[in-house]
Symmetry: C2
Subunit: 232 residues, 2 copies
Amino acid sequence: MNENLYSLDAYSRSDLFVGIAPEKLGDIFCRGHRCLLGSGESLFHEGDPALKCYFVLKGRLKLVKLHEQGKEAILRYIDSGELTAAVSVFQEKDYPVTAIVVGDAEVVGWDKDTMLKLMLEYAPLAVNMLGFALDRIDELQTRYLELCAEQVEQRVARALLRIMRKSSHKISTGVQIDFRLSRKDLADYTGTTLYTVSRTLSLWEKKGWIKSGREQIVVTNPHALVKFAEIG
Amino acid sequence: MNENLYSLDAYSRSDLFVGIAPEKLGDIFCRGHRCLLGSGESLFHEGDPALKCYFVLKGRLKLVKLHEQGKEAILRYIDSGELTAAVSVFQEKDYPVTAIVVGDAEVVGWDKDTMLKLMLEYAPLAVNMLGFALDRIDELQTRYLELCAEQVEQRVARALLRIMRKSSHKISTGVQIDFRLSRKDLADYTGTTLYTVSRTLSLWEKKGWIKSGREQIVVTNPHALVKFAEIG
DNA sequence: CGCTCTATTGATAAACCTCAAATACAGTGG
DNA sequence: CCACTGTATTTGAGGTTTATCAATAGAGCG
């Protein structure tokens, strides 16, 4: 029962369910399938038939898109309280991206039919989903422009700040990223190489803007980083 | 009356209105504001309060996003039969992009309230909009990956093909892009400079893949271009 | 015909990637 | 507690891609 309560809590905190009576959340919850996942597991894979969409109850997913020559781009981190793979509901397509679990995670999945029924039954759900889709378009467009117009260091700064604003906690020395984030991850997120990210972070460490270790970063001077991200 | 018929025709051909009875289109049409636009005019500008969303009846829009240092990215061309600025309906935000008219165009705009009423009255409209939003996310993600992983020439090839598939017509010597497309446009679309695009097109012209003039391109060997776009 | 905008092309420089090798670190099992 | 092993990270050197700058040529328009 504790588990159920926990999950319902994650539901009700999410903006996805704004406008839906809290007592209905149990119903929505029951009609999906719960799933526990370990670090590095993939929830769905690019090219698989898109059968379900998922709500993250706990933990985090990394959405990546793969390129032929082995390169990959991190499109987004999906924190708990967020929905992903909404495509599955509307189109008879394969997943266009891969979702990889970061740390441990717990998700609920609904298949196409169930989700369609839920959307008809709980109208705000569809509207909220459209709202989120538009948010994601905006974010992608912004990052697309940054990738076009800015140099690597500036993009890394923006990436680090974007991740920090979404998933970090204060510690004595600064603001720490909540999850394991390697140089390679940051590189894939910003369209560069792990070498360049490493050099960049080393430089910032010398300047006292950050403090970084193995797959782990603390931003010690967010203000300086913000300024740099804006001016370049 | 001829004009009305023309416009209704554009409506009914658009996938946006799938699921809505054709005889209702007149009603939807009447509740928006028609607007004729000349080449280079901007329909809305990044940073303006987002009051309306627009359906393109005729002509074409260019969606651009501007960067501080004068650079700009072309996010998308919007052909007739497509909707843009759906953000305006859902969020109290400013437009995140600028829409510039390419050639001459005719659009219909609905303000937020009208659009919300229409969506409630004609349910398929909301669902179709969500479907299109998801399509756009997919396209942006794909282009984002390409920008991360591919070199300039490959990206230019993909861009030219993407534009060709959407807006071209056959002529005796090949497939001609429907609208004026400068080297600068292609550069802004692919995240490079007009110089590099010029060099690339010159090369392809020597190879006999294209035939280009001032703001105008004919693809004479689409097959070769497709192959190049895939292999790089 | 002259004006303006677009395109071409060469030379140069900058940013960044690639490769290679060394080093640091976390986790594991003795 | 320590050595061991597999990653992650750092850093240098060198090369490639692509941007930048500059100058010229060409095309369309009044």
